[in-house]
Symmetry: C2
Subunit: 383 residues, 2 copies
């Protein structure tokens, strides 16, 4: 077939006034433009030579018996935008914007999926669609469906969609079975893309917590807890890096206090009345100060029991920072945020948390408290 | 008076078994320990020589006629913790933890204020109390109340207290009048301190926006807007760096679209029906997608009119990033978050936003939309 675009361009230059010779650009179509017929949600390239050329260069579509090629809508639209396919419906030519509109009518969020598909294709990857609810399979560079397994499974989202932990866990379970990596592509307001690699993590630390005997008496002051006796303070602090020494006293966080009370390691008294406070009563007070106290405590406990040292992550805007070894010897490896396992949040918040963790060279973990505690790490990547 | 602590220590060593000569530490009191009487919310140092010594070394307290010194509770407690003052109430000695408890009964959040006071004093600053609702005045290093004006006015807060924009604006108005800097000291769960310097900012950019004539036709697709005609797309994009070119089409954000519609620079049609969309109807749709759309638009408009180029801040977890010059020539100078002027939020969120902005070397601005738009910048500092 003839390459219309190229001929049109030549005609324009031919009738252009002035010195047009300088302006002659290379032809827009280095290959012949194939013709595809839009049939509902598919496109068919009937010409056998065109079909095989399209398929062989980029593994677009599925070859049909008889030599034709069936393209998915998203493939056809990409090939149309790239000037490689000329799409017609009932013989009438459809321009690229018209195609986009049509696809948007058929698929919810088509524009988002398309932007991700397009970006990955332009980065040189072979991209094929994937079983729902995931969107795409991406093959390693130089790979293809016939010779290599896919590397990433991709979920394409708008920055405005919900950050849904339950869905994320389901995606992770899926990719784990097939041994793929999970890539989450988030499209922002300006159609710019951010890729996150998500993976399940089992954090592990090297700190063996010593014993369980009663070590210190503490007093509860408004929203903080303090061990006033210097020798008790030091003993407790050294037993597991709990609290922070301020002069000769030890300040404990509410979380540490609840954890140590539960273990029978400290005894807490009300600073004003001098009366002993039980764990239940302390938990109630703590919950008033910090509504998500229970949730945080679950994650804190789990991390402590995995041999990590857990400290507040306030400076990083997260719940905790966690050390795999003694805090005076190493930097914290993780920032940890506690969520319920069915948490639904906002992507910009996630984006910010990941950005902070990169800035301080730590891994961000989302600790999800359900029947057990699971951890997901998110990392920005450039595929 | 005699220095009890020192004598006690010597006595202990004298009766200690084994080789105690190695353990002799310097005396705990290099100056004589002054005696102070706790009277309600004040302490009085009666001995004239002690009073003047305490006052002259650190400008503690207010000298009374007759040679005595009146200490504020916080000053007396700090001097007690430092081993410089021996506090008694009705003749009975009060230890430091007992004093803390007493102060906590009198003042709400005394512990928080004390941690900040203590930290600033230990950093070598002369610190005096300040008119409420601010907490302290801090004098420049080497300065003092008699010879130098104070440098910072300080608000001491718990990480758990509300981030209250209205209060912050009031603080800023106060320090502006007296030409001080505003320091916000936030005490975290572990009694660790983070200092933020807050200041009012009037951002200004160098971009002169051209004309107001109609430039492009756009279509509205689910949650994004696109100009399909290449020449219109380029013209619009170049007129003020609006949107992002994706291939030959221009993607506009919802905010840009509303702004450009209001200026009469673009006309928007529904991609499915082809019908023209009016500004009101567009605003309604946008608000559905982004509940705080109105708020963001106000701040966007103000920044654009100040000659800045405003783009999404998704990657940084903030609403916008803003350039003072062409985005292809400079990096964005600001990250901007829009708030209503009476916004009440959480400190950990603020902490995270500031942390991100430092990581990417931009200033974080909180754009507060009230009758007019005002901007506050927060910066972490080490005083």
């Amino acid at each position: 077939m003839i390459c219309l675009g190229f001929y049109l361009k030549l005609m324009i230059f031919a009738t252009w006034p002035g010195d047009h010779t300088l302006k002659i650009s290379p032809p827009v179509c280095s290959m012949d433009m194939a013709e595809a017929e839009l049939l509902g949600e598919k496109m068919i390239v009937k010409d056998e030579a065109e079909a095989s050329q399209i398929h062989n260069k980029g593994y677009f579509g599925t070859p049909l018996s008889g030599g034709a090629l069936e393209l998915e809508l998203i493939e056809g639209i990409f090939l149309s935008e790239s000037g490689k396919v000329d799409v017609r419906r009932k013989g009438k030519k459809m321009a690229f914007p018209e195609l986009l509109k049509a696809a948007n009518r058929i698929y919810p969020n088509f524009e988002i999926k398309y932007l991700v598909y397009r970006d990955l294709r332009l980065r040189g990857y072979v991209v094929k669609s994937c079983l729902a609810p995931l969107d795409f399979r991406v093959f390693p560079r130089g790979g293809s469906p016939n010779k290599t397994p896919s590397k990433y499974w991709v979920s394409a989202l708008s920055e405005r969609s919900v950050f849904d932990l339950k869905a994320l866990r389901m995606h992770l379970a899926k990719v784990l079975v097939v041994k793929k990596k999970l890539l989450i592509a988030v499209v922002d307001e300006e159609s710019d893309l951010t890729y996150y690699e998500a993976r399940t993590v089992k954090p592990k630390g090297q700190i063996k917590k010593k014993g369980k005997k009663m070590l210190a008496h503490a007093m509860f002051l408004e929203d903080r807890v303090m061990v006033a006796d210097k020798s008790e303070a030091l003993k407790l602090h050294e037993s597991g890096f709990y609290g922070k020494m301020i002069g000769s006293r030890l300040q404990l966080s509410l979380i540490e206090t609840a954890y140590l009370m539960e273990k029978g390691i400290i005894e807490v008294k009300n600073a004003n009345t001098g009366r002993k406070i039980g764990l239940d009563s302390f938990m109630k007070k703590a919950k008033k100060i910090q509504p998500d106290f229970n949730l945080r405590l679950k994650v804190f406990k789990d991390l402590e029991e995995r041999g990590l040292i857990v400290k507040t992550g306030f400076k990083y805007g997260s719940h905790f920072r966690a050390y795999t070894n003694a805090p005076d010897k190493t930097h914290a490896k993780y920032l940890v945020h506690s969520f319920s396992s069915d948490h639904r949040g906002m992507w910009p918040e996630v984006s910010r948390a990941v950005r902070v963790s990169h800035g301080v060279k730590k891994d961000i973990l989302f600790g999800m408290a359900g029947n057990k505690i699971e951890y997901v790490a998110l990392r920005r990547v450039r595929p």
